[in-house]
Amino acid sequence: MRGNGTRRTGSRGNQTATTGWLFTAPVLIILGVFLVLPVVMAAWVSVSDWTGRGSPFAVGTQFVGAKNFEAIVSGGGLAERDFGTALRNNLYYVVLVVPLQTMVSLFLAVMVNGRMLKGRGFFRTAFYFPSVTSTVAITVLWLFLFNATGAVNKFLSLLGVTGPNWFQEPTGVFHLLAQAVGIGSPPPAMESGTLLGVSWWDWLSGPSAAMSAFILMAIFTTSGTFMLLFIAALQNLQGELEEAAMLDGASSWQRFWYVTLPMLRPTLFTVITLGLIGTWQIFDQIYTGTQGGPAKTTITPAYLSFSTAFNNQQWGQGAAIAFILFAIIIVFTVIQRVLLRERDSVPRRKRMNPKPSRGRAL
C-alpha cells in the first residue's frame, strides 16, 4: 500500500506514508498489545522459572533454557506421562472428528442445496442451530443425554444394547474391541515399550467412551458451521460444467465426484484447516464437562496447559505445552496442505500473477 506512494517524490510521498502509518496504527497497536506482547510473554515464561507472582519480566525470574520443555517431553515423570496421555486423547479426537465433520457437513450442504428439496430454509436453520448455541450449554445437555441412565442409554436398551456409563468409562474403544476378540491383556512388548511415558498398548487404546461422546458432540455442533461454508461454495459454482457432464452421460455420483468435488477443493482446504485447529484446541467442553476424567482419558493439551499453569503453579510447563501444541497445529496444517495440493499446479510464484492462472479452470 505504501510501496508505490513513497517512492514517487519528496514531501508528498512522505505525507502519504505518514497518513498510511496513521491509519494502520490502531490495528498495529491492538495487534501488538493483545497478540504480539502476550505471545512474547508466554514464550519467555516457557523458558523461565516464573512462579506466578507479579510480572514475568520482573527481576528475580531466571532463564532456565529448555528445562520446562524437557520436563514435558523427556522428564520421565508425571508431567511427561500426562502430556503423552493428553496427546493420545487429542489425536484420536482429531483423527475421528475432522474427517467425519467434513463429510457430514459436505453431505448436509449438498442435500440442502438440492433444488428439489422443499423447506430448504427450515433444514438449513435446523442444521445450523447447534453451531450458534454455546458450547457450555451443549456440554451440559450432553452430560444429561449420556448419563448412565440418560436418554441415549434408554434408547440403546430399546435396541437390546446395554450402553456404557459414558462419562465414567475409562476403557478405550479399541481395547474393548480387543477384549471382545479375546485379547484381554497386552502383549509384553507393547506393555514395556513407551513413548512420552505412555505404553504402546495405551497409545492404541482408542478414545474412551467419554471421549467418544465428545467426538459425537463436536460433529453435531460444528457440521452446521462448515455446511454453511460448503453451501456458499456450491452456490458459487457455475452450472455449465455440470450440465456438460450430464450431457456426456455422467451419473449423479460421477458428477459429484469428478466435477463438483474438485471445484470445492479450496473450501475443503479451509474447512479441514479450521477443523484441525479447532479440534487440537478443544478446551471448553473438557473444562465444563469432565475436567479430564475419567482416568485422564479426556485431558487434552489445551486443558493440561491450563491446569498445569493455573492449578499446579507450573507456569513454565504450562506455557511450554501451549507452544508444543502450536507447533503440532502448524505441522498438521502443512501436512494437509501438501496432501490437498493440486498435482498439476502452476508454480506458486506464477500463481500470484493473475494473468496465467486466469485461463485455467480450477
Partner: protein, 415 residues
C-alpha cells in the same frame, strides 16, 4: 474461481496463526505493577471465597459485613466460580484478593512463590486451633494461615433402607467384616449397600484402618505401597467386585451424597458437608452418621479443611488479619456450623458444637484419629493420578496401582 485462491489461503493461515497464538497467550497473566506492597495501611478489604452453596455464601457475607460495621473498614465478599484460577490471576497481576479460601494442597505452591503472608503465628487465638489442622497449614516451619473449619469422613446410613433390611442398632458395623456383611444385606434391586466417590479422598480412609498411611509420620517418605495399604485397597476391591459396594460414578451419580440421596446406595462415606446437601436436595431422606468401621489396626478416617489465606500483596494486612481473627473466633465458627454444617476448627468451640449437634458426634470423634492427605509441593498432581487409577480399580491389581503411585510420590518428595 471468483475468489483468488491465494488470498483465501492467506486468510486461512492468518486464522490459523491467530487461533494458535491467542491460545498460547492464555498462559500469561498480564501485569506490570510491582509485587512489593506497603503492607500496613488502610483501604477496603476484598474477600474471595468458593461457596458450597447459597447458605455458605450468605453467612460469610453476613459475618464480613458485621465485622465491617464494627471495625469501620470497608469489606466486600466475592464468590469465585473457579477459585484456583482466580487466585492465580490475582497473584500474577499483583492485585490479589486480601483474604481468601485456600485448600491445603495449594498452600505449598503459593507459599513457595511468596504470594502468601505467613500471618497465622501472630494470631491471638493460634493455640486454639486443632493441632492436626495447624500442621496441615504449616509450610517450611511457618504456620501460614488460619484453618477456617474442619470436616471428617464418617459412615452415613439410610434409616428406612436399614430397617427395611431388618437391621437394628446392634448391627451398626464396627469392623470390616461387619461392614461387608451389612452392605451385602442392604444390597437389593437398584440399591447397593455402600457407595462412595472413586477418589483417594474417600478410599484412603481405609489405609489407616489397616495401619497404613500415604506418607511417613514426618512427611518425608512415601509409604504408599506398604503391605497395610495393599491390604486395605484389596479389601475395597473385594467389596466392589462382589457387588456390595459401588463407586458413585458407576451408579450415575456425581458423588457419594447424590447416590445416597437418590437411594441408589443405602450407605455412603462422606464428610459433614453431606448434611447441608441432603437437607437441600433430598430433605425426605432420614439418615444417621456413625464412625467409620475399624479395620484390623483400629479406627481411621480423613480430615479436610480450608484456611483463610492473606495475600502478601494485600494493601491492608492489619485489617485482613483482624478480619480473620474475627472469622475464626468461636462465635463466628458456631454460626457457620449452624448455617452450613461444618465443624469448628478451634478446640474452644468443640463442647458447644457437640451439644448443639449431637448427631455429628461421629465426625467430632473422628478428629482424634484422622489423617490428612499429603499437601507437599506436587502431591496434588500425584493424588489426581491416584484418582485416575482408582477409577479402574475393579480391573486392576491393587498392588500395581500402589506401586505406581509410590514411584510418583517418591519422585515428587525428592524434588
Amino acid at each position: 474461481m471468483k475468489t483468488p485462491r491465494a488470498s483465501r489461503l492467506a486468510a486461512a493461515i492468518t486464522i490459523c496463526l491467530t487461533g494458535a497464538l491467542s491460545l498460547t497467550a492464555c498462559g500469561s497473566g498480564f501485569a506490570s505493577s510491582s509485587p512489593e506492597s506497603s503492607g500496613a495501611g488502610s483501604g477496603p478489604i476484598t474477600v474471595l471465597i468458593a461457596a458450597s452453596g447459597d447458605a455458605e455464601a450468605t453467612s460469610v457475607k453476613d459475618a464480613v459485613a458485621e465485622w465491617s460495621k464494627t471495625s469501620g473498614t470497608e469489606a466486600s465478599v466475592n464468590v469465585a466460580s473457579d477459585l484456583a484460577q482466580q487466585l492465580s490471576q490475582g497473584f500474577a497481576s499483583g492485585k490479589p484478593a486480601d483474604v481468601f479460601y485456600l485448600s491445603p494442597d495449594q498452600l505449598s505452591g503459593y507459599a513457595s512463590n511468596g504470594s502468601l503472608e505467613p500471618y497465622a503465628d501472630s494470631l491471638s487465638n493460634k493455640d486454639d486451633f486443632q493441632p492436626s489442622l495447624t500442621k496441615a497449614f504449616t509450610y517450611d516451619g511457618k504456620f501460614y494461615c488460619a484453618p477456617k473449619d474442619s470436616s471428617t469422613l464418617s459412615l452415613v446410613i439410610n434409616n428406612d433402607l436399614w430397617q427395611a433390611a431388618g437391621l437394628t442398632d446392634a448391627d451398626v458395623p464396627t469392623t470390616w467384616d461387619e461392614l461387608e456383611a451389612t452392605a451385602k444385606k442392604l444390597t437389593s434391586g437398584n440399591t447397593v449397600g455402600l457407595s462412595f466417590s472413586p477418589e483417594v479422598a474417600r478410599v484412603a480412609a481405609f489405609f489407616p484402618q489397616a495401619g497404613g498411611s500415604l506418607l511417613s509420620a514426618d512427611g518425608k517418605k512415601a509409604t504408599v505401597n506398604s503391605a497395610e495399604n495393599v491390604k486395605a485397597l484389596t479389601f475395597v476391591k473385594k467389596m466392589l467386585t462382589d457387588g456390595s459396594a459401588k463407586f458413585s460414578s458407576d451408579l450415575g451419580a456425581g458423588w457419594g451424597g447424590e447416590a445416597f440421596g437418590k437411594q441408589l446406595s443405602a450407605m455412603t462415606i462422606e464428610g459433614n458437608w453431606i448434611s447441608g446437601a441432603l437437607s437441600k436436595d433430598f430433605p425426605s431422606i432420614k439418615y444417621r452418621t456413625v464412625e467409620l468401621p475399624a479395620g484390623p489396626k483400629g479406627k481411621g478416617t480423613l480430615q479436610f479443611t480450608n484456611c483463610w489465606g492473606i495475600a502478601a500483596d494485600s494493601k491492608n494486612k492489619p485489617a485482613a488479619k483482624a478480619l480473620v481473627e474475627q472469622l475464626t473466633g468461636t462465635q463466628t465458627q458456631m454460626t457457620f456450623a449452624k448455617a452450613f454444617g461444618v465443624m469448628p476448627s478451634v478446640v474452644s468451640a468443640e463442647s458447644e458444637f457437640k451439644k448443639a449437634f449431637p448427631e455429628q458426634e461421629a465426625s467430632i470423634a473422628g478428629v482424634e484419629y484422622a489423617q490428612t492427605l499429603p499437601s507437599q509441593p506436587g502431591a496434588a498432581d500425584v493424588l489426581k493420578d491416584f484418582n485416575a487409577k482408582l477409577a479402574t480399580l475393579q480391573a486392576s491389581d491393587p498392588k500395581a496401582i500402589l506401586d505406581a503411585i509410590q514411584t510418583e510420590m517418591t519422585a515428587t518428595l525428592s524434588k
